[in-house]
Symmetry: C2
Subunit: 146 residues, 2 copies
DNA sequence: CTGCAACTTAAAGTTCACTTCAGCTCAAGG
DNA sequence: CCTTGAGCTGAAGTGAACTTTAAGTTGCAG
């Protein structure tokens, strides 16, 4: 089997055919066509789909994923180095996201002791009143004071 | 100031008035009305809104948040203990989410070395071919083999 | 009392990430 | 050849979480 049908790609990637067609419309993946107009995928597309799935896990929008994939070479099959570069980028984003959630967790742990979410005392819910210069919302989580 | 207008609550919580009205329609928060039909919020509502914002950070749907908030007493203002109980629940959910992302990060780190996302070798993208019995998709991340 | 910012409503619109539908055509086994 | 499952298209639908709009009302400062 040289190329994959949309059904094959769907089965191997765990992504529905309708989603694969959608990704193609959005310019995230590519397919060649048979004489009868059916899609045929290079095996390399499987890696693109894998990348999309992983990036989504990290909480990245399709728009951002599209931009990232656009940085891959168009004229040749991406090499390991190409994928490594993208992976490193996502690892960084992922780490940022983990850091935010860990901070949230730690402060929530503190709050369990004080039973708060109190506007007066809780670090999680520091209101505009207290930190007006930095805007509304739970400042300590989103923009911790270094 | 005894109660808050929707504008006050919006400014102090960082949530748009339209979103607050939406939350009310969805049964997440409550307001009393003036003789002229305007909303007035108890200060305790601020805590509910804070809770909603935090839960959303954790990646919880409004539906789940609504269910959680419904477990608070209706006949009295929630105590510290009430909020502690909910907080502990979310801390657990948050931890689960962090664990998934850390696993993803660690495996992505491994992949940076091998430049993969390869279907043959990469733990991130273990296909149906290899682990057919466990369904399609990146199995190692979502359902690690203990 | 007046003016005007802030409030009210219901209904429709928006974005994201897809899925579903209707009405076809294609490809491959018997 | 025939059947049947797989694939095709464009358009419409979905659900989550809101926002926007239009047309009207309220509340407080001056």
């Amino acid at each position: 089997m040289e190329t994959l049908t949309i059904g094959d790609l769907s089965a191997r990637s765990g992504v529905a055919p309708s989603a694969l067609r959608f990704y193609e419309r959005e310019g995230l993946i590519h397919a060649t066509r048979t004489s009868g107009n059916q899609r045929r995928y290079e095996r390399a597309e499987l890696r693109r789909v894998a990348f999309i799935k992983i990036a989504q896990q990290v909480g990245v929008s399709l728009e951002e994923i599209r931009t990232a994939l656009a940085s891959l070479p168009e004229n040749r099959t991406p090499t390991k180095a190409d994928w490594s570069r993208l992976s490193a980028h996502w690892r960084h984003k992922l780490q940022e996201r983990i850091t935010v959630l860990e901070r949230l967790r730690d402060q929530l742990t503190g709050c369990i002791g004080c039973g708060c979410l109190s506007l007066q005392r809780c670090k999680l819910v520091n209101p505009a009143d207290q930190l007006a210069t930095r805007g509304a919302g739970p400042q300590m989580i989103l923009n911790p004071p270094d």
